[in-house]
């Protein structure tokens, strides 16, 4: 990776951290558990990396590792979103 490209990535990282802090401090304590399970779900974004690893042409060690990564990341995505929805469904007004 060229240094300029790395700098752009760093910009994105720093700005994303600030957005994260701003948005998440507004989440009320009542919803902190769904926040955690929901962030489990979005940290399943590593599925994107896993898909790339598993998707390359021939089947070898790299693609098999990628495939195992897909399994764990998908558990996070599907499990995380489903359980978050299960919880949020219960929060009702009188």
């Amino acid at each position: 990776m060229i240094f300029g490209e790395f700098l752009i990535t760093l910009y994105i990282l720093v700005l994303a951290i600030f957005v994260g802090f701003e948005v998440i401090t507004k989440v009320p304590p009542t919803l902190h558990t769904p926040l955690m399970s929901g962030s489990n779900a979005i940290s399943g974004i590593s599925v994107v990396g896993a898909l790339l690893s598993a998707g390359y042409g021939e089947t070898n060690l790299a693609t098999v590792l990628g495939c195992v990564a897909i399994v764990f990341a998908t558990i996070n995505v599907v499990g995380g979103y489903t359980v978050t929805d299960r919880m949020l469904k219960m929060f009702k007004k009188k």
Partner: protein, 458 residues
């Protein structure tokens, strides 16, 4: 062209994740926010499948079906009381997935990864595997497979430092000779064991902090993997999760008046023994009251504030408690719930448990909102909580919980404690409230007592 479409899709996903989190700022919009976020994930996955290099679809489909089935099964069957374990486990899987992705990347680039590639791969590997093994231990502690007591052993810090030193040495060596797969293996193994050794000495009571911290680490691992793969979707999303976990960790530490270092290396439970022994010396008597006594007080109250603790969930009495509250409201009593940040076993846990019992969310009040209200309340009904009401946190500098923010239950006109026995609370400290003349202690199983109260009120 194809690349551009993929990158724009990732941008849309990132925006949808942020909007989803933003909509979590209110229970009314939260559920739709979760849908939006899930839709963002779908876009990211579809866009990736569109990538030119992705041609091997068999493995992908098998992986996705297997992962979805396991994930859905876990999500549907988990009990709300077990939510901390579930989140703990998912943190671990997130860390493991990121680690596996970079191992795969290392294998693919072998034997000539560049310095940038090998360093980002190693950082991801270390964070990811610490998250994975640490989460497994946290899961074990919460589930009761591993002892909840802090496990201490001689040369604990030295051993951890040594492991850290091996990791750093191995990393420097790999920077120079990235093809030495043995060293990569050693780093993996030591990272895994370091995660175990770091979490094992932390007591069960501190697991909420650990789970929040590991939540943050799982995000950082994804973020680091993003650097390794030059993938913006992973970087942005990982940063969001990392920030979220950090905020929650800070909130939990503040609620217990402990620093993160103290939680990580303090082995809290160890202090308890001496504190209990010291206070047990003075013999004080406590008067037990009956359910009928409580009924008279409750019925004549204008405002009742319920203070639930984890003992409520252990006794599975949430539904009965809500029934009791409904009956009081039918008699014109105003009922509110005061939720201490560490009332459950993870941030916001008690709120979920009460929501499950159909308690409307607008009746749940945070500590800061409700503390001024106690002086106006006729009754504070404490169910299965103890330490979070203990005035020793305010007026006894010698107490282990001194400085911890508490619910000002002592300001209420009458305090009713539902308690299993006179045993001290989680932190093993006596509560002087039990001996006040305005306090009514009702001993017994929380569920049975609440059911009796409901029957008496009928």
């Amino acid at each position: 062209m194809r690349e551009n479409i993929i990158y724009i899709s990732y941008l849309i996903s990132a925006v949808l994740f942020i909007l989803g989190l933003k909509m979590l700022s209110h229970p009314k919009t939260a559920r739709n926010g979760n849908f939006l976020s899930a839709f963002g994930m779908l876009i990211a996955i579809c866009a990736t499948l569109f990538e030119r290099n992705v041609i091997n679809y068999q493995l992908i489909i098998i992986g996705i079906i297997l992962g979805s089935a396991i994930g859905a099964f876990l999500a549907v069957t988990v009990k709300m009381t077990e939510m901390p374990q579930m989140v703990g486990l998912l943190n671990g899987y997130g860390g493991l997935a990121s680690a596996l992705v970079v191992v795969s990347e290392y294998v693919r680039l072998y034997p000539t990864p560049t310095l940038y590639e090998i360093s980002t791969i190693l950082i991801t590997l270390v964070i990811g595997l610490i998250t994975f093994s640490g989460s497994l231990v946290a899961y074990g502690k919460l589930q009761g497979i591993v002892t909840g007591q802090p496990v201490t052993y001689p040369f604990q810090k030295t051993l951890n430092l040594l492991q850290f030193f091996v990791i750093v040495t191995g990393a420097i060596f790999l920077f120079m000779h990235p093809e030495h797969i043995l060293w990569a293996g050693v780093i993996c193994a030591i990272s895994f064991s370091l995660g175990i050794f770091l979490v094992l000495p932390i007591g069960g009571a501190d697991m909420p902090v650990v789970v929040a911290l590991l939540n943050s680490y799982s995000g950082m691992a994804a973020c680091a993997a993003g650097f390794a793969l030059s993938n913006y979707a992973l970087i942005v999303t990982g940063a969001l999760v990392g920030a979220s976990g950090m905020i929650l960790t800070r909130i939990m530490c503040k609620a217990m008046n402990r620093s993160l270092t103290n939680v990580m290396f303090g082995a809290f439970g160890k202090v308890e023994a001496s504190a209990t022994a010291a206070t047990n010396g003075k013999a004080k008597s406590v008067q037990g009251y009956s359910v009928d006594d409580a009924q008279i007080v409750l019925e004549n109250a204008n405002e009742v504030i319920i203070v639930p603790g984890y003992g409520l969930a252990v006794a599975q009495a949430q539904h009965n408690l809500r029934e009791l509250a409904d009956m009081l409201e039918a008699k014109g009593v105003e009922v509110k719930y005061a939720i201490h940040p560490v009332a459950g076993r993870m941030p916001g846990h008690m709120n979920v448990l009460l929501a499950e019992a159909n308690v409307p969310y607008e009746k749940l009040y945070e500590m800061d909102q409700i503390n001024t209200e106690f002086e106006r309340a006729d009754v504070a009904l404490v169910v299965g909580a103890n330490d979070v009401t203990n005035p020793a946190a305010k007026n006894n500098p010698g107490s282990p919980i001194y400085g911890m923010p508490i619910l000002d239950v002592d300001k209420a006109k009458t305090i009713i404690f539902l308690k299993r026995s006179m045993a001290a609370g989680f932190a093993g400290i006596e509560n002087e409230l039990f001996y006040l003349p305005k306090t009514m202690m009702i001993f017994g199983d929380a569920k049975k007592t609440v059911v009796d109260m409901v029957n008496v009120l009928k």
